[in-house]
C-alpha cells in the first residue's frame, strides 16, 4: 500500500507572471531550489526527479543547474495537465519502493510569453502517431483549441442538465474572489462579478473569456520523501494519503466525444474510486478541494465525479455557495488557475500543502485532508494529502 508511506516535505515556486523574462530551465531551477530550501534540504540530498512529459526541461538539465548529483529515479508523466498529481504519485512510489529517497517534482514554463497552449497548432494532426491520428478527426474541422474541446462537453452538459452559462460563471466569480485576497495571485485585488463574466467576449460558445483560465509564466516544485523523514524536516509534512492516475474506456486527449455519455469525466471517476479506496476516507472527510480549473464547466463535473454532489447537481451546489471559502466544500482557496496562475495544476498541489500547514493566504480552519485533482478531459490524476 502506498497510503501514508510518503509525504510532501517542501514546496517552492517562482513568481507568477505574464512574462518571466527568464528561460524555462532557469524557472525550473529556481523553483527546485526554493522547494529544497523550504524543506531544509540541499541539492545533494536529491536522488530522483519527476516532471510532465510536456515540460521542456529535462531532469538531467535541472539536476545540472541545481548541482544535484546522482539520480537513481527519473520519470515523466503524460497527458498535459493530467500529469500534475501523477508526478507526486510516481515520486511516492519511488520513495515507498526504495528506488529513491528524495524526489523533486517540478513544472516550469513560459506559457504566456512563450508557447501558448490556447493558440491553434495545425501540427497537432501533422504526424500519423496515435495521437496525431486521434487529433485528425477534429483538427481539420477547426476544433483545435482547448477551450473549444471543453466547450463541446459543456454544451452537452447544459443540454442534459439544464445548466446555464451563469452556472459556469459562478465558478469563475468564486475563484476570482479567492484570488483577490491571495497576494501571490495574478488577479490579487481584482475580483469579478457575474455580470462581468456574462459580458466577457465569446471564446468558444458556450464558453466566455472569463470561463477560461489565465496563461502564465512560472514554475512550482515539490519535494517528496518518506513520511518518517518528512517529519524531521523544517516544515510540517503533507502526508500522501492517496495518489492515483486514471484513464477511462474510450479515452482520448480532450475529445472523448464517442463514449455513450458526454456529460461526465469517467477518467476522474477512476481516480476518485482509487483515492477513496486507498485513503479509506469519504467526501465528508475532506475540508478543502483543489480542483483543476482550466475551464469552469469541468469544475462542476469534477464535483459530481468525486462524489461531492450527485449527477447534474453541481450547478445548484455552486449556486448555494458550496465552493466558497465558507461553503460545504471550499474549492481552490488560492484562486485556482482562473485566479492565481496557470502552472498546469502544480500550484494547486502547493496550495493543498499550505492549507495543511496552516499558512495559506486564505487559510481555512481545521484542515486535515485536502483532495487535489489534475487536468480534466485528459487522462488524469489525483491526491489526498493529510496533515501528519
Amino acid at each position: 500500500m502506498l497510503s501514508g508511506r510518503a509525504a510532501i516535505g517542501g514546496i517552492g515556486a517562482t513568481e507568477f507572471s505574464k512574462e518571466s523574462g527568464r528561460s524555462e530551465l532557469r524557472l525550473a531551477a529556481e523553483a527546485v531550489l526554493a522547494a529544497l530550501d523550504d524543506a531544509g534540504l540541499s541539492p545533494a540530498d536529491v536522488d530522483g526527479m519527476v516532471t510532465y512529459s510536456q515540460d521542456t526541461n529535462q531532469e538531467i538539465a535541472v539536476a545540472r543547474e541545481t548541482g544535484v548529483g546522482d539520480l537513481t529515479f527519473f520519470s515523466r508523466v503524460e497527458y498535459g495537465g493530467g500529469a500534475a498529481c501523477g508526478t507526486v504519485a510516481h515520486a511516492a512510489m519511488a520513495v515507498a519502493t526504495g528506488l529513491a529517497r528524495t524526489v523533486v517534482c517540478y513544472r516550469a514554463f513560459n506559457e504566456r510569453s512563450g508557447r501558448r497552449f490556447g493558440q491553434p497548432n495545425a501540427g497537432l494532426s501533422g504526424e500519423p502517431t496515435s495521437q496525431g491520428l486521434e487529433m485528425s478527426w477534429h483538427v481539420p474541422y477547426g476544433l483545435i483549441t482547448p477551450a473549444a474541446w471543453v466547450a463541446m462537453f459543456a454544451r452537452r452538459y447544459m443540454h442534459v442538465y439544464g445548466a446555464t452559462s451563469e452556472d459556469f460563471g459562478r465558478v469563475a466569480v468564486t475563484m476570482r474572489r479567492h484570488a483577490a485576497t491571495n497576494p501571490a495571485a495574478w488577479f490579487h485585488g481584482r475580483p469579478i462579478t457575474l455580470e462581468e463574466h456574462q459580458a466577457s467576449r465569446w471564446i468558444a460558445e458556450p464558453l466566455h473569456l472569463l470561463d477560461c483560465c489565465q496563461e502564465s509564466d512560472g514554475a512550482v516544485a515539490l519535494v517528496v520523501t518518506s513520511a518518517e523523514r518528512a517529519r524531521d524536516l523544517r516544515r510540517p509534512p503533507a502526508l500522501i494519503t492517496a495518489a492515483a492516475q486514471g484513464s477511462g474506456a474510450g479515452q482520448m486527449m480532450m475529445t472523448s466525444y464517442y463514449r455513450d455519455d458526454m456529460t461526465g469525466l469517467p477518467e476522474m471517476s477512476v481516480v476518485a474510486r482509487q483515492l477513496w479506496e486507498m485513503s479509506g476516507l469519504s467526501p465528508s472527510d475532506v475540508q478543502a478541494a483543489i480542483l483543476y480549473d482550466h475551464f469552469t464547466p469541468f469544475v462542476l463535473t469534477q464535483l459530481e465525479e468525486l462524489g461531492f454532489c450527485g449527477r447534474g447537481e453541481a450547478p445548484g451546489f455552486v449556486r448555494d455557495g458550496g465552493i466558497a471559502l465558507d461553503g460545504a466544500l471550499p474549492v481552490n482557496p488560492h484562486g485556482g488557475q482562473l485566479g492565481e496562475a496557470y502552472i498546469h495544476g502544480m500550484n494547486g498541489i502547493a496550495e493543498a500543502v499550505r492549507q495543511l500547514r496552516g499558512d495559506a493566504a486564505n487559510q481555512l480552519a481545521g484542515v486535515t485532508n485536502v483532495l487535489v485533482t489534475a487536468g480534466t478531459g485528459v487522462p488524469t490524476s489525483g491526491l489526498i494529502l493529510s496533515s501528519g
Binding site: 491520428l133 485528425s136 463541446m152 443540454h159 468558444a204
Partner: protein, 291 residues
C-alpha cells in the same frame, strides 16, 4: 477522351498547318555575327559563305507580329484549367538547307498532339506537341522543328488547406471515401461492429479484418461549439463544429454549414455534404436536413 481540353486539341489539330506572318527582317549578317558570339561558335564558314547557322531557324521569326497560332488556344485553355506550369521537354529540328543572307522566312505551325492528364514529378499535366516549318519565298521548306511542352498544375496553385489530417493505413479509407462523396464507417469484417473513429483492431472481437459501410448521410446534432477566438488558419470566424450522432450508431465530428448560427441547436437533423478544402482534402460537413 472527350473532355474539353482534348476536344479543343482535336479541333486545333484539324486546322492543319497555319501560316504565320513573314519574318520582319531578312536573314542578315549582324544577327548571325551576334548569335555566333553568344553561342561561342567560332566557325568562320557562315559569314564567309553568306549563310545562317541552321539552328538559328527560330530566331528569324521570333519577333514577328503574328496571328494566333493553333497552339495558343490550347495553351491558354490549359492555363485556365489550372495547368499553369510549363516546361519544354522535346525539341527536334530538321534542316533542309542553309538559309541565305537576304532571304525572308515565313513560319507555319501545325498542332499535332495533346496527351494527358499524366502524373509527373512536377505535378499532373498534359504534353502538348506541335510542329513549325520555316518556308522561303517560294514556299519550299528550309527548316522544321518539333516542339513539346509539359503544361502542369503546380502543387501551390490551389492554396493548401492548413488543417490537414494525418492519414495512415488504418484511416485512409475514410478520407478516400470523402473524396468519392461517401461517408464511410469502419465495419469489422468478422463481427460486423461499426466503429468511428476507426482503428486497426476491432475492440469488440479483436479482429483485424476490416471493411466499411457507407453511411446514409443523415445525423443528429449531439453537441456543438461556436468558435470565435482565437483565429484558426484556413477558417473564417465564427464557425460551428459539432458532434453528430449517426443512425448507424456512431458519432463523428464535423462543421455545421449553410445554417445561421442562431438556428444551430442540439437535436437538429442534419445531412452530410462533401466540401473540397484544396486539391487533396475533402471534408464531410453537415447541413440542416430541411435545406
Amino acid at each position: 477522351m472527350t473532355d474539353p481540353l482534348h476536344e479543343l486539341a482535336d479541333k486545333q489539330a484539324a486546322l492543319g498547318e497555319v501560316r504565320g506572318a513573314p519574318a520582319p527582317d531578312p536573314v542578315n549578317a549582324p544577327m548571325i555575327r551576334h548569335w555566333l558570339a553568344a553561342m561561342g561558335d567560332a566557325n568562320p564558314v557562315y559569314l564567309e559563305q553568306g549563310v545562317a547557322p541552321p539552328a538559328m531557324a527560330q530566331v528569324w521569326t521570333m519577333d514577328a507580329p503574328r496571328d494566333r497560332s493553333p497552339v495558343d488556344d490550347v495553351l491558354a485553355a490549359l492555363d485556365d484549367a489550372g495547368y499553369t506550369g510549363v516546361v519544354a521537354t522535346d525539341c527536334g529540328q530538321t534542316y533542309h538547307r542553309y538559309a541565305r543572307l537576304g532571304e525572308r522566312l515565313t513560319p507555319a505551325t501545325r498542332f499535332t498532339d495533346l496527351a494527358g492528364p499524366k502524373r509527373t514529378a512536377l505535378g499532373v499535366g498534359f504534353f502538348a506537341t506541335w510542329n513549325v516549318t520555316w518556308y522561303d519565298e517560294d514556299h519550299r521548306p528550309v527548316a522544321e522543328m518539333l516542339f513539346r511542352v509539359l503544361k502542369f498544375r503546380p502543387p501551390e496553385v490551389g492554396k493548401p488547406y492548413p488543417l490537414q489530417p494525418a492519414v495512415n493505413q488504418d484511416t485512409a479509407f475514410f478520407w478516400e471515401g470523402a473524396k468519392q462523396g461517401e461517408l464511410r464507417i469502419q465495419r469489422c469484417a468478422d463481427c460486423g461492429a461499426l466503429r468511428h473513429p476507426p482503428g486497426p483492431m476491432c475492440p469488440a472481437c479483436r479482429s483485424t479484418a476490416r471493411t466499411h459501410a457507407v453511411a446514409t448521410g443523415r445525423g443528429t446534432l449531439h453537441s456543438f461549439v461556436v468558435h470565435h477566438h482565437p483565429p484558426v488558419p484556413g477558417r473564417e470566424l465564427p464557425f460551428v463544429v459539432g458532434v453528430v450522432e449517426l443512425p448507424e450508431g456512431v458519432r463523428i465530428v464535423g462543421n455545421v454549414v449553410d445554417c445561421p448560427i442562431e438556428k444551430v441547436e442540439v437535436g437538429m437533423p442534419l445531412r452530410v455534404t462533401f466540401r473540397p478544402m484544396d486539391d487533396r482534402l475533402v471534408l464531410p460537413l453537415w447541413t440542416p436536413e430541411e435545406a
